[in-house]
Symmetry: C2
Subunit: 169 residues, 2 copies
């Protein structure tokens, strides 16, 4: 897939076929996250690849917008390490860019993906930290549910020329 | 360019040729930002496209990592509107994904680009707000310097398998 097509046709996909995903594909998606830019190139991220029903159920029980995980054969938790980030507040900015790289990579590989937000909702951060037994200094930022798409979504028009300004506001 | 190539060869480019950039390309890059996912699809962003020497000089005077702007024929300020974001803290997450889309789009179009961080450094946020005369509720998030590349950078190995965990930490 070319870049323009990927950028302009990617959608949040929440329904998945039950077929499994090749672990090599999952690794490529995580690698795409690792190639995102990060403040002062600190690359403060960690990724937890998970499939266990028990974990998915625990997340769904505490996170109201995560029901699509039930059908996802493989999902990824994107985290940042407060001890690795450039400075306070940067880990989340870096993980957001990494998450976007991963969504584009999944789309390119023919997979559907959905970004499930954790940060900045601190109640979700704490609950996910507990479920994945993260060290105190590791902050769960986003979940990416993956799967072969079982829904098709049209390409919306999101171009808003009124949001473009020239030189000053 | 295909997606994998874009994801894995994109680098921060800080040296640019003096030749101008087609305004249509700039519009495509901004559009790529608008096609990023955002929390609850709020699309809380604004973009200021600028070229004026005076503005670039003002930024360079207050932002220590923005010297590449001097050579950039066109740069873009990515902002979010606090009144449009889903909730506090989300505008920055959304703008980070938008910035990453724009960097990949620029790379695809044969341009070099560099993400110059503003948020979460509040002194920079206030200074840039002043320079661009932004309304009180509009927060400058990042600057993207653009230009035809006048430097080549090798592709680094950023794959860190030790940052991948399975099922739990």
């Amino acid at each position: 897939m070319n870049v323009q097509e990927a950028l302009f046709t990617r959608r949040s996909i929440r329904k998945y076929e039950p077929r499994p995903i090749d672990p090599q594909m999952v690794e490529t998606i995580v690698k795409a996250g690792m190639y995102a830019p990060s403040a002062v190139n600190k690359q403060p991220w960690h990724f937890i690849v998970f499939s266990r029903e028990e974990i998915k159920e625990q997340i769904i029980a505490v996170h109201p917008s995560s029901k699509m995980l039930a059908q996802s054969p493989v999902s990824i938790l994107v985290c940042y390490d407060e001890q690795l980030q450039h400075d306070e507040g940067y880990g989340a900015v870096d993980c957001s860019a990494a998450t976007q790289n991963m969504l584009l990579c999944a789309h390119d590989l023919g997979l559907g993906a959905c970004w499930v937000g954790i940060y900045p909702r601190m109640a979700r951060v704490e609950a996910l930290k507990e479920i994945f037994r993260l060290p105190e200094h590791v902050v769960p930022f986003s979940l990416i549910a993956l799967g072969y798409p079982a829904e098709e979504k049209p390409v919306p028009d999101r171009f808003r020329p009124e949001r473009i300004h020239f030189e000053k506001w």
